[in-house]
Symmetry: C2
Subunit: 215 residues, 2 copies
DNA sequence: AGGTGTGAATATATTCACAGCT
DNA sequence: AGCTGTGAATATATTCACACCT
């Protein structure tokens, strides 16, 4: 009775879908019409069995003896990831990091459009960057709702992240990408993904320490 | 004969250690001398059994009936993560994102010191930011070795990431944090961690799509 | 009594190996 | 013949439940 994840697709598979999608789009750009699990695995840094197993959860997408049609896969995975239509995002915390994310080309390329900016610093509020005005965080609930923003990207200092989260949740946002090193408390129906660069550095540090020890 | 990970500590535990460490340091700052698994779990967003199991891999660090000594845990986890001494890092790709990372306070706070910057843009090479000159990527092998840099943070455009990786590997770097959405090919003894913000957004998008579908 | 440490039970993920289409 | 799709086997991770120490 393992309900897994809502759809019958395991979490670990979901986490690999964006990766597959990226590689498939590259293949498509190269004009490659068909790909077999082995080749795709090589591109993504996994193995063929993993690819086939993952895809099997999405349905029978391949043709035995032939391989997978690239275009069909792109279509199907985009569908599952819900990125066939553009999704609106807001950036909360417009310091250096927030500004960098605002200009990040990977977002629009993958269907995410930044439509609002927020900060609490009076020196920033009201300023316009690349056509978007910075609103005060207090405005967030109203503005987010009006614009129909679905995703909030938090790039605030650690202590401000929870406040920012509360504001965007009040604005009806159901998905948060948190770049501050702070565990957020949010209602059950709000999805949070935590990105912590220091954490990643510490894990790398562990591996370095391992190597040093082994030497 | 499962050799796990070199030390006997499972990967999944390692990935949680930085989280624990952060919370423990906060407790320490609050002057809390002792913590029990339940409380720490609440702070970190896990459960008590997980905390105890994780810590059991590090040795017998707690006292039955009492709990864990915060200071001892901080010491021990820092030791294991290899963050007791400062580690030197370099940033490759000094665009907006690179610059934002350069100023990121979380790095020095956790013992990571940015000591070199690289780019290929002639307009940036030679400029000085916060006391550090931007070197040309071609200089990287030499400069990294001279400074004893252990970690490279790649913040280049996607197509330049592999080139950057090759250069830092030549400079003796054994740990790479890659913020470009590109799978890197590196020698076996080089550790890579991939951070892809678009990937995270896509996973959030999947969850949104799930919720929409369920409604 | 109150907490840790841990074997056993369960759940999840990956890999293998081969039957089944084309 | 070739490559997918998948049950079975294995490996890894999480959770349970209780013995064991203070």
């Amino acid at each position: 009775m393992s309900e897994k994840n809502g759809s019958g697709i395991p979490e670990s598979t979901i986490e690999r879908l964006p990766q597959y999608l990226r590689c498939l789009i590259e293949l498509q750009a190269l004009g490659v019409p068909l790909v077999k699990s082995e080749r795709l695995a090589a591109l993504c840094g996994t193995n063929a069995a993993q690819v086939r197993k993952d895809f099997s959860y999405l349905g029978e997408l391949g043709t035995r003896g032939i391989g997978y049609e690239v275009a069909a896969l792109v279509e199907h995975i985009s569908q599952i990831l819900g990125v066939k239509e553009r999704r609106k995002a807001a950036i909360v915390g417009y310091g250096k990091l927030g500004a960098a994310l605002h200009g990040y080309p990977g977002f629009p390329e993958r269907g995410f459009e930044v439509v609002a900016l927020f900060d609490v610093d009076p020196a920033k509020v009201g300023q316009v960057f690349d056509g978007l005005a910075v609103h005060h965080l207090d405005e967030a609930p109203k503005v987010l709702r009006e614009l129909g923003v679905e995703i909030a990207i938090l790039a605030t200092p650690p202590h401000a992240a929870q406040l920012a989260a509360d504001a965007v949740v009040e604005g009806g946002v159901k998905a948060i990408l948190n770049l501050a090193p702070t565990r957020l408390v949010v209602p059950d129906d709000v999805n949070v993904r935590q990105v912590c660069l220091s954490t990643d550095l510490q894990i790398l540090s562990f591996r370095l320490a391992q190597q040093e020890g082994a030497r």
